[in-house]
């Protein structure tokens, strides 16, 4: 199928899907609707969900009547390495301590860039690690473990 306005086509689908999903969840989980004078927890999200869903359909419909830009390809390399590095940091920092976690974060995220220079990134990681611990742990007293749990 040839899409005349792919950006709006996909936006429309996204908004419609999310909007109606919210409305459906209200019904499936049976959040009480209440009445207009005593609104239950389901009322406002249900109305908003329907509104968003309808708006999504309008955007979708309009994408068939006017031309628009193509959606450029997703850059999977930075997506995977950057977000991956962040998630690894979140999951391991308590266990391996901030000092090591920062170096790991810098090393993994470096794969998302255009060039990878091991020595340079390693040095950057160590400097960032020392600097951050100085500022955030000693200076601003954020409660991070600095060293790995299994060592201390």
């Amino acid at each position: 199928m040839h899409l005349r306005n792919p950006k709006d086509f996909w936006s429309g689908i996204m908004f419609a899907a999310i909007g109606f999903a919210f409305a459906v969840i209200v019904k499936v989980y049976d959040y009480p609707m209440g009445t207009a004078s005593r609104m239950g927890p389901g009322y406002f999200p249900f109305v908003l969900g329907l509104l968003l869903g309808v708006l999504g359909l309008v955007i979708l419909f309009k994408s068939f009547v006017a031309d628009g830009e193509r959606v450029s390809a997703l850059a999977w390399r930075p997506i995977v390495w950057i977000l991956g590095a962040v998630i690894v940091f979140g999951l391991t920092v308590k266990l391996i301590g901030l000092a090591l976690a920062i170096i790991v974060l810098v090393m993994i995220s470096a794969f998302g860039g255009h060039e990878f220079k091991l020595k340079e990134q390693l040095i950057a990681g160590v400097i960032l690690s020392i600097g951050s611990i100085g500022v955030f742990v000693y200076g601003l007293k954020l409660p991070f473990p600095i060293w790995p749990q299994f060592l201390g």
Binding site: S11, P41, F44, K62, S72, I82
Partner: protein, 501 residues
């Protein structure tokens, strides 16, 4: 007048302690440090540094945040002038003439006039804020839930007007933001909504996680996708102090920018972006000889820089008097206040006068610090800009991760931020502007709360929004705004205004 002076005196007694000055200074420095990094605007900077203020006393934490805000904004202008990569949309127009000035070897003068113009407008706007806040807070006490609901509607509609691109997509983004804001426990019934039995979600999605994912991580991915193309004018910054001729040319522009910015900053949904765009356009329109605009006209730097700083200042007015954040930066401020146990609104001024006036005075001090500190330090910020992006973005990631993790010391927020990084990147791909989403996100629960109360008071009669005069006026303005942007002529103008991005 006397009340104003005694209020300011109280503010000075709070903000002029060594401790407060130190945190204001740290805030300015950290804010500039992060804000100067290409592609990182004030929203991401504040989100990132927010947890660093959690452990402080409320006064100090807000003073530090205000410092971070001004630092971040000034850092963004520096990047715009020297590298032609605006940190965020409010410095887009600064880049037009500022960068051209830099290319002509006058980067110093551009940076100098940006700093001095900002300081001047900051002084004026601070006084305006101090004078306007008490009477506005009086009016705010007359606001009932219906008025609050209508005002928030107006704010959201105004945000649509300011968003780039499609109006209908901007409205959809607002609705999406409102819905995401409703995730978590409903305050009225205590029922957890949309949490899918994930215990962490019953507290709702963290607004810092959303802001940092959408404005921070998504931006990094986008930058890495585009590759590195930067031209920096490091060696020929030139003298920082503008010449007499420069000042003579720029001063009227600074004055006009200040006036326009102060006015636009107060509007809900307004703020720095609109201010700098309109100040630039206005300057270009009234100039006798506008041929130099876009080629390095000093007025093209002076006007928008003064305007966005004035607007940054006056956008605290709706926040401090009504408790309604007019833009994403103020939304982050609300979050910070709530974490400190302060419910933003008209009562802050009467219940916590030290905090209120201390913060206002510290804004002025923050502005002053930027001038006396950042101008001499400019060499250091420039050094930072010469660091290649492949080393900068891991540093940004480190600060972001430390910031998000510190929110609740659990991996959950970090994962949520990563998810919103992906979502934000998809928004970029689909041309969906994220700022309205963030505003909707923070206003979602407040709107629901006020809607419910208004309907309860009127016994389910929805016409209450139209029969109460204040509420009806606010809704009327919203409808008018929507009609106006739908008009073909205005629509074209609006598209033109954003073309320069």
């Amino acid at each position: 007048m006397e009340a104003l002076l005694s209020n300011l005196a109280l503010g000075f007694s709070v903000a002029f302690t060594p401790e407060a000055l130190m945190y204001c200074l740290i805030g300015c420095l950290l804010g500039t440090l992060i804000g100067v990094l290409p592609g990182i605007g004030p929203v991401a900077t504040i989100a990132m540094l927010l947890p660093a203020t959690f452990t402080l006393k409320p006064e100090l934490s807000l003073i530090m945040l205000a410092g971070i805000y001004y630092g971040a904004q000034y850092g963004g202008s520096t990047t715009a002038i020297l590298v032609n990569i605006p940190g965020e949309s409010s410095s887009v127009v600064t880049a037009l003439d500022g960068y051209q000035m830099a290319r002509k070897g006058r980067a110093g003068a551009a940076l100098g006039i940006a700093a001095l113009g900002s300081f001047f407008s900051g002084c004026v706007a601070t006084l305006l804020l101090a004078a306007a806040a008490p009477p506005l807070a009086e009016i705010a006490f007359k606001f009932g839930p219906a008025e609050y609901f209508s005002l928030m509607t107006l704010g959201l509609i105004a945000a649509v007007v300011l968003a780039h691109g499609s109006v209908i997509k901007a409205i959809a983004m607002i609705l999406l933001g409102l819905l995401l804001g409703l995730v978590g426990t409903d305050v009225n019934s205590g029922m957890a909504r949309f949490n899918f039995s994930i215990p962490e979600l019953s507290d709702g999605i963290g607004f810092v996680a959303v802001a940092m994912g959408v404005f921070g991580f998504a931006e990094i991915i986008k930058n890495l996708e585009q590759g590195e193309e930067r031209e920096i004018f490091v060696n020929k910054v030139g003298r920082l102090l503008p010449t007499m001729q420069d000042i003579k040319e720029a001063f009227p522009a600074v004055l006009r920018g200040t006036g326009l910015g102060s006015l636009l900053g107060i509007l809900p949904g307004g703020g720095a972006v609109l201010a700098s765009f309109s100040a630039y356009t206005f300057e270009k329109k009234i100039a006798k000889d506008s041929s130099q605009f876009g080629k390095g006209d000093i007025r093209g730097v002076a006007a928008p820089e003064s305007a966005n700083n004035a607007a940054a200042q006056t956008s605290f007015i709706p926040l401090l008097t009504l408790g309604i954040p007019p833009n994403p930066v103020m939304a982050l401020m609300v979050g910070a206040m709530i974490i400190q146990g302060i419910q933003p609104g008209p009562q802050v001024m009467s219940e916590k006068p030290q905090l209120f006036w201390g913060m206002i005075v510290s804004m002025w001090i923050g502005n002053l610090m930027l001038v006396i500190l950042n101008l001499p330090l400019i060499g250091m910020w420039i050094k930072l800009l010469t660091v290649p992006y492949r080393l900068l973005y891991p540093a940004i990631l480190v600060f972001c991760c430390i910031g998000v993790y510190s929110l609740s010391n659990s991996p959950f927020d970090v994962v949520v931020t990563a998810v919103f990084g992906m979502v934000g990147y998809l928004f970029v791909k689909l041309d969906c502007e994220p700022a309205p989403l963030l505003l909707g996100f923070i206003l979602g629960p407040m709107m629901e709360e006020n809607l419910r109360r208004a309907m309860l008071l009127s016994r389910g009669d929805a016409t209450t929004f139209l029969t109460r005069p204040l509420s009806a006026t606010l809704l009327g303005i919203s409808v008018l705004l929507l009609v106006v942007i739908a008009l073909p002529a205005i629509r074209k103008k609006r598209e033109e205004a954003f073309v320069e991005d």
